[in-house]
Symmetry: C2
Subunit: 290 residues, 2 copies
């Protein structure tokens, strides 16, 4: 499997890392890149991530047999609309968005009869550092990639996407868009929300800088994701609103249960709650096969 030309729309961390990985794996001959910010595209060119700068998403896609849309999820519909006329009937079009129901909906509206070309993807990879300057050819290696094909996704494109990600060292797993969004509200979107909320809770206090200067490795790891990109994450949270709010509510119940035990001095029951959490986390392994 070798692609002639990758049309890369969005040259941020995810898109640039994908282009690099594809090139290093010898899976693509040419990368034409477009980014909303010309500075970003120029950096990507200078770093050898793309071979040609395109002045628009449309021109990046022209002639491409592989298209990757790697933009904040709320921008997906506009991008797909803008490339609709030029996408080849045999091209494989993928995204890397962290929510999938909205992306599928956007794709249906934008790609119409070409919807079959589109394979919605969510690689479970990322960093708290964003931007082309943090592009990393190994970003995807060993990570899960969730595909959420629709009833109109063509088998040939689904198979090609599966082969491509597998060739990049990923574990591919298929899910429905709804199941995907429910699961990632729990294990990704809510943790990000909690990390942001903790930082803001600290910053609202008079002694916040003193407090932050005293923090250690537990805090460092717990809040790493709080440094994530604001546009990307406000998009995700709005997009997956219902699932996220339901999970936030469930979380508050769980937190409140601990507060009550602390308040009323029920140390044994508190110990048991902590033990349950601790054992489960100690036994958890990332990327365990289901």
């Amino acid at each position: 499997m070798m692609f002639e030309q990758l049309g890369l729309i969005g040259c941020g961390l995810m898109g640039s890392s994908f282009a690099l990985a594809m090139k290093r794996a010898g899976l693509v001959k040419r990368v034409i890149g477009y980014s909303k910010s010309p500075t970003t595209t120029q950096k990507a060119l200078a770093m050898g991530i793309i071979d040609v700068e395109a002045p628009s998403a449309l021109l990046a896609v022209s002639g491409a047999d592989l298209v990757l849309v790697s933009v904040p999820v709320a921008a997906t519909e506009a991008v797909l609309k803008s490339i609709y006329h030029i996408v080849g009937a045999k091209a494989l079009v993928m995204d890397v968005g962290s929510t999938k129901q909205d992306v599928v909906k956007a794709a249906r509206g934008a790609l119409k009869e070409k919807m079959g070309c589109f394979v919605p993807c969510h690689p479970i990879a990322g960093k708290e550092l964003s931007g082309v300057e943090h592009a990393d050819e190994h970003l995807y290696k060993g990570r899960k990639v969730i595909l959420t094909p629709t009833e109109r996704t063509m088998t040939v494109q689904l198979n090609a996407a599966t082969q491509l990600w597998t060739a990049l060292g990923c574990q591919v797993q298929n899910m429905s868009p709804a199941a995907h969004d429910a699961a990632y509200a729990v294990v990704s979107h809510l943790p990000h929300m909690l990390a942001f909320a903790l930082m803001n809770s600290i910053l609202a206090q008079d002694d916040s800088q003193e407090y932050l200067s005293l923090a250690g490795t537990g805090f460092r790891d717990f809040t790493r994701i709080a440094a994530s990109e604001p546009k990307m994450w406000s998009d995700i949270m709005m997009t997956n609103k219902d699932e996220l709010l339901a999970q936030s509510k469930a979380f508050r119940r769980s937190l409140h249960a601990m507060e009550v035990l602390i308040q009323t001095g029920q140390q044994d029951a508190l110990h048991d709650l902590i033990q349950k959490a601790s054992q489960s986390r100690a036994n958890w392994r990332m990327n365990d096969k289901k």
Copy 2:
């Protein structure tokens, strides 16, 4: 500065790592160890962490010019009471507990006129893995150590403690016990509580195992501290109850503010909140000097 004999009470992760570090740095000649569990003491002996097993805390302390109490904070008072009669007037006695007001109170009651020997310490170091088998001579290196001396702490002991931790590669900082407990409720105790609560919130759901199998690196780092030791952490939470509950409440307000913005579709305001959190976290560096 060289100590003749360290009396180590509690041979878990913190105590064992301290004994190892002291030995490797050539700061102590002999370590006499006691643990509630004989299995632990035997392991510590077999691993060369202690030189002699003591059958009681009292006997571990006999003849020691340095005593380290490294037990769950709620056990501190009983330990100090049990060694009171045998502690030498010139010995340096330290603990490594994560809360300090309760430890100081316990020490006043237990050590009486020998209270001047006691320097309450909190090394900002640890792992989610507990027990002597994870002892690590480098655990403390490069970390902060907070000392919370009282008005009765003798200068000579405070200086000795400062020199000792500095010799182990730590940055020593003095605080009042109350300021310590307020600060660590924010940057350590609350994050642990949130991590435990998140795990329990997930475990209460029907699809919890499916969800957990899909989690990636963000979840991994965010929940690392949820694997921490239940006895140690239920103790800390009960002990620092007032500060912790106040911080939990402040956190819930911060979370609720985000929920409202999501619910009402105020994306720009949500973006600004996330940006504030993100910039602050991106600029944070561990162990920045104040």
